[in-house]
């Protein structure tokens, strides 16, 4: 199943800078990630910044006949062991919390979706350094 990284296989970092539904950025990033994985490339990390952190709440309830972006990302992460990172500073401004952060900030609940984790901006820079290509999806 695993194949060695060939000369043409790349290690991608992906940045998502807009929230779901208002902008197409998250849809495009998701489709890019899937296409890259199908071609045998590696996704080093997906970093969610600005309103992009809103992709990481499990509390979205889109209409049944529409795609569920958060669930798509969570399922892709599960299937491919993707590292989905939500920026902590951007997340705190916008009310995206994991259990630890909720406790630390004295909030009564958390909303981080499965497969996402909250971490710092250093994860974005590190992805830029370690990836062969960093692809930014935004407005």
């Amino acid at each position: 199943m695993l194949r060695a990284r060939g000369d043409r296989d790349l290690r991608f970092g992906i940045v998502v800078n807009e929230g779901p539904y208002t902008h197409q950025a998250s849809d495009s990033a998701y489709r890019f990630a899937r296409a890259a994985l199908e071609k045998g490339h590696e996704i080093l990390r997906v970093f969610f910044y600005h309103d992009g952190v809103n992709n990481g709440t499990r509390f979205t309830v889109p209409p049944q006949d529409d795609r569920n972006l958060q669930r798509q990302w969570s399922e892709l992460a599960e299937a491919h062991k993707l590292d989905l990172v939500v920026c902590i500073a951007a997340a705190q401004r916008r009310g995206i919390l994991d259990a630890n952060e909720a406790k630390r900030q004295g909030k009564d609940g958390d909303n981080i979706a499965p497969g996402f984790r909250i971490s710092g901006l250093g994860q974005l820079i590190e992805a830029g350094i370690q990836a062969d290509r960093l692809v930014v999806f935004g407005d």
Partner: protein, 138 residues
């Protein structure tokens, strides 16, 4: 492998006015965090992004933080190359005189104070972008 061999060219492109959206502020937050990684960092200011460097900014009327002073501190973070697009200034009736003076101390030249702002033509911007390893656009 040493850290030096992994040093990459990072360019942060700022395209939007400092206020009205959060992009400028959150871009600056990436630049400040990124400085700790000791990469080869440049900033570019194009389109309304040139307004981010305007002198005499006053946000008291809109109730948001005035973070413009942070640009003047970038030299302390080894961020010394701020490219401002000439055409973007001209299209907005601005000259470099309208921007904040921003400088850095060059430790290889007896700590001489040197300007960080470099005005570049659109064609030079194209070249600058093409030679980067990582381009983050805000």
């Amino acid at each position: 492998m040493t850290g030096q061999s992994k040093r990459k060219k990072f360019l942060y492109i700022n395209r939007r006015a400092p206020h009205g959206t959060i992009y400028a502020l959150e871009s600056l937050e990436v630049v400040l965090i990124g400085a700790a990684f000791e990469q080869d960092v440049s900033l570019a200011f194009i389109d309304d992004g040139v307004y981010q460097l305007m002198a005499g900014q006053d946000t008291s009327g809109i109730g948001v933080k005035n973070f413009s002073k942070t640009y003047r501190a970038l030299g302390d973070y080894e961020v010394r190359k701020l490219y401002v697009e000439r055409e973007s200034l001209a299209e907005r009736g601005l000259t470099v005189e309208d921007l904040m003076p921003i400088s850095f101390e060059d430790e290889e030249d007896d700590y001489a104070e040197k300007p960080s702002i470099l005005v570049a033509d659109r064609s030079e911007m194209v070249r600058l972008i093409a030679e980067q390893d990582v381009v983050l656009s805000f």
